[in-house]
């Protein structure tokens, strides 16, 4: 069986402006290139087989978000190869892709269209039903939403996509108990029909619950990968 997603020695680097301020003055006066390359991910190799779920653990700043963005094809690797033979649902983690000046409904339409899905009435209704946000709320501009409401909207849009891989980034951290339960049920459902899940969380018990495999990131490197129960123990041990 072929892997859905395969990383071979992938490294990702960012170009950072050390001058701090992005200005021509600093560039001219320092007489040197203000841009420095900083490595974010280093020599990342792993595989995701169809129907498999992978947990990603790691302390803040270890490169989890960058890894997710490279999986989504948003960031290109500086070296190594990424083979992706699957469609991937958009990562709308905590509402980052939402347009604050638009209403909830307008955001649903915009994001569906940007992801190549026709924003039909049925699609919008299905998303609204999952998010449990009422008409009044969805007619408000998104900038008035609480973090929990943003997450509800973003994940409902994300889940609506019919993809092979779903990337779930910290969904259970912000939603209330009702929405958490709903998301857990949805994740189980997706797993049962053979979809792959990439699950990012700071709660090792959740990772152990959903994923058979996990990898542990630290300072941009995979320091361990294997069965999720072992990796979760190792993650917990990092903070002892």
């Amino acid at each position: 069986m072929q892997a859905l997603l395969e990383y071979n020695h992938v490294s990702i680097r960012y170009r950072e402006n050390r001058a701090g301020v992005h200005s021509i003055k600093d560039w001219v006066t320092s007489f040197k290139n203000p841009f420095h390359t900083i490595p974010i991910l280093h020599d990342i190799s792993f595989q995701l087989m169809p129907g498999e779920s992978l947990g990603i653990l790691g302390p803040n700043g270890s490169g989890k978000s960058t890894l997710l963005r490279s999986i989504g094809g948003i960031i290109k690797p500086a070296s190594g190869q990424i083979h992706c033979r699957a469609s991937i649902a958009p990562i709308l983690a905590l509402g980052a892709g939402l347009e604050l000046e638009l209403t909830g409904f307008e955001n649903i339409q915009l994001l569906l269209a940007l992801n190549g899905i026709k924003p039909t009435q049925t699609a919008i209704q299905a998303i609204q039903a999952f998010s449990e946000l009422d008409d009044v709320t969805l007619n408000h501009t998104v900038k008035c939403y609480s973090t929990g409401m943003l997450a509800r909207l973003a994940f409902s849009i994300s889940f609506y996509h019919d993809s092979d891989i779903y990337i779930i980034d910290e969904v259970l951290a912000v939603g209330d108990l009702g929405f958490q339960t709903k998301c857990i049920a949805r994740i189980r459902e997706l797993q049962q029909v053979g979809k792959s899940i990439i699950f990012v969380s700071h709660a090792p018990d959740e990772v152990a619950q959903f994923c058979e495999k996990a990898l542990l990131l630290d300072h941009g490197k995979i320091i361990a990968q294997g069965p999720s129960s072992t990796i979760c123990q190792q993650y917990k041990a990092m903070f002892l």
């Binding site: 200005s23 841009f35 989504g72 948003i74 960031i75 347009e99 339409q109 915009l110 269209a113």
Partner: protein
């Protein structure tokens, strides 16, 4: 094909967001040039009593200047302003400045309809020559898009570009014979005007709109090839810079 749908969605977003919290909304698309026009009439028209139909003369410049200035000013911020979307959805970054062109074309079309009706009172002659506006607008749009691409890409890395552009825009405006006639410029300074590409485009637009004639065909071809050339250069530079956008926004 999918990119066309994405472009349409972004253009629609721009149109909605721009006038979201304003009472007059769409009307601003032609109120802004109208206010400028009134200022010019008050300040300059006595000065230019020799210019036939001064209102029509100024309008035929102002409308297209605002088209250029709105697209560049908004387009320059379009990539850094869409950081959220760019970080969560795989989408060509080129679409963001392009969507600014789309929404401004929409605005210009509305404004043109209004001014076409209004200008009959100021001596505009309705002839088939007016159809020249379409090809001229096409090459002017290419030119405007090329400039916007360059500025938007550079602005991702050096935010000075955006500030600098907003600062020098009024200078470019006054260095283009929009409110005044080019005869006003002393011969020894005329090279400044002649070095300004927008001058030539305004000249092209004025032929059908103000003089009711076809534009100078040679000038049209020259402007057209210049725009295409500039677009190729801009696309080349944009493509070189775009891979690191995500890390800098």
């Amino acid at each position: 094909m999918q990119h066309l749908h994405q472009l349409y969605a972004l253009t629609k977003r721009n149109v909605i967001v721009r006038y979201k919290h304003s009472v007059l909304g769409f009307l601003w698309g032609f109120l802004k040039p109208l206010i400028y026009l009134l200022i010019f009439i008050v300040i300059f028209s006595a000065q230019f009593s020799s210019v036939n139909n001064y209102v029509l003369y100024a309008t035929s410049g102002i409308l297209f200047w605002f088209f250029f200035s709105n697209i560049t000013a908004q387009g320059i911020q379009s990539i850094i302003g869409s950081a959220g979307i760019l970080k969560s959805i795989r989408i060509p970054s080129l679409l963001f400045p392009l969507a600014e062109v789309g929404s401004e074309l929409f605005n210009l079309a509305l404004a043109l309809v209004v001014y076409f009706i209004l200008m009959q009172f100021f001596g505009m002659v309705y002839t088939f020559q007016l159809l020249w506006i379409i090809p001229i607008l096409l090459i002017f749009t290419l030119f405007t898009f090329s400039i916007t691409l360059l500025l938007a890409a550079l602005n991702v890395y050096l935010r000075d570009v955006g500030i600098l552009w907003n600062t020098i825009q009024p200078a470019i405006f006054y260095l283009t014979p929009i409110a005044y006639t080019e005869e006003l410029i002393p011969a020894r300074f005329s090279f400044i005007i002649k070095a300004n590409p927008i001058y030539y485009f305004i000249k092209l637009f004025r032929a059908p709109l103000y003089h009711s004639t076809a534009p100078d065909f040679k000038l049209f071809l020259l402007c057209g090839s210049f725009s295409v050339g500039l677009l190729l250069v801009s696309l080349f530079i944009f493509n070189r810079l775009k891979n690191q956008f995500i890390t800098a926004i």
